[in-house]
């Protein structure tokens, strides 16, 4: 044990003592980038898939050297760049879909049988807007088109409430 305590050097860690401040700064940057990536991950979830993984690091924990920390920092910055790009592209698609939905609501007959989901316009939930004829075949022949709004899946809380009511009733 005394031998371990006496090993108060960085030689065993394959790092240089005079680089400590640089390493501390890189660790600070990694922290900031990780926070930014976490925020983008939350923003993108369910809309677009973004990668947070970094390849080729150690399988076992150790003190990283300056070069390795730089690589982690750079890889995180790359991931953030990719995430931002993916989110921007997705936002463009959602804007186009919202425009399509606006046109569909204004004139359903112009966009027959078109379905736009809440996911398509970047909204949570699983409802859809569907342009379809009123009264089936008759509506098709007469040109009576409308947008039917599906409110999506029932919420789990409501289902639980139904189960509870049933349990109380029985």
């Amino acid at each position: 044990m005394p031998a371990l305590l006496e090993r108060d050097t960085l030689a065993g860690l394959r790092t240089g003592g005079d680089e400590r401040l640089a390493r501390a700064e890189l660790r600070r940057q990694i922290g900031r980038l990780e926070r930014e990536l976490a925020g983008l991950f939350g923003e993108a979830f369910g809309r677009v898939e973004i990668g947070c993984e970094i390849d080729g690091l150690s399988a076992e924990p150790r003190v990283l050297g300056l070069g390795e920390l730089e690589r982690v920092r750079d890889d995180l910055a790359t991931r953030i760049g990719e995430a931002r790009l993916a989110l921007d592209e997705r936002a463009l698609v959602e804007t186009r879909n919202r425009e399509l939905l606006r046109r569909m609501l204004a004139d359903p007959a112009e966009l027959k049988w078109v379905r736009v989901s809440r996911h398509d316009v970047g909204e949570p939930g699983c409802g859809v807007w569907h342009s379809r004829p009123r009264f089936g075949m008759l509506g098709m022949l007469m040109g009576w088109w409308r947008v039917k709004v599906s409110s999506g899946c029932p919420l789990s809380g409501r289902l639980a409430a139904v189960e509870q009511e049933e349990a109380q009733g029985s």
Binding site: M1, A3, L4, L5, R7, D8, T9, L10, G12, L13, R14, T15, R20, R23, R27, I30, G31, E34, R35, A38, G39, F41, G42, F45, C52, E53, I54, L57, S58, A59, E60, P61, R62, V63, L64, E68, L69, V72, L76
Partner: protein, 224 residues
């Protein structure tokens, strides 16, 4: 008291948490790194009903949105950052709280694994603090976080540890990798009669959260 020598116990604690130490050159690299543990009597076994109920309640309070935004919260974020800083990818080697969150979504609930695992699950999910359990009777002296010395290995694993691997060690040898495998024979087993609950604190994790996590495990195990 992280990242350096710490002594003593806190008033009103039973069992009192013990503070470990961090090798000075590791503490210099990672200010805020610390280790503390408590020892509690108890043998592994099926969790009693109140603990199973508590796990169910915890499952009901934990939704997908919690898991998705977990990494934005201060304590889980602090562990993710530390993982990055020590070369682990937290999206491959999950932090303890994120692993539990993933399991919760995968299995649909925090499933009971018996004691002391359930007590750890409750404390980790409630506080976000990284905890793990060892067989207290197999540990010798104070625990510490240090890098591996040349020629050291982890019991039960072939080959030597790469020099500089960060480990949790007692006064004899490494007892586990920091956020990794436990040495053979030192984990909780059927023969365990006394459990050591170990917390690893990193920069950004407040002391009060660590205290709460240890207290929560002690209270849960003590009530069983």
């Amino acid at each position: 008291m992280a990242g350096a020598e710490a002594t003593g116990s806190r008033v009103g604690w039973d069992p009192a948490p013990q503070q470990g130490w961090v090798a000075p050159h590791v503490a210099a690299e990672f200010p805020g790194l610390g280790i503390a543990w408590i020892e509690v009597d108890g043998r592994p076994g099926k969790s009693p009903d109140p603990i199973r109920r508590r796990l169910r309640d915890l499952s009901d309070r934990f939704y997908g949105a919690h898991a998705i935004h977990m990494r934005e919260r201060p304590i889980p974020w602090a562990y993710r950052v530390f993982f990055r800083q020590i070369g682990l990818d937290p999206d491959r080697t999950r932090t303890p709280v994120e692993q539990l969150a993933l399991d919760r979504l995968y299995y649909g609930a925090f499933t009971s694994q018996g004691l002391p695992a359930d007590a750890l699950t409750i404390a980790i999910v409630e506080t976000g603090v990284a905890l793990r359990a060892f067989d207290a009777d197999q540990l010798e002296g104070r625990l510490c976080i240090r890098d591996s010395a040349p020629g050291e290995s982890l019991a039960g694993r072939p080959g030597e540890l790469a020099q500089g691997t960060l480990t949790i060690a007692d006064e004899r040898a490494p007892v586990g990798l920091l956020f990794g495998a436990t040495a053979e024979g030192l984990g909780v087993s059927r023969e365990t009669r006394r459990v050591a609950i170990v917390s690893v604190q990193v920069k950004g994790v407040p002391q009060i959260a660590v205290d709460e996590a240890l207290w929560m495990v002690a209270a849960t195990l003590g009530a069983s």
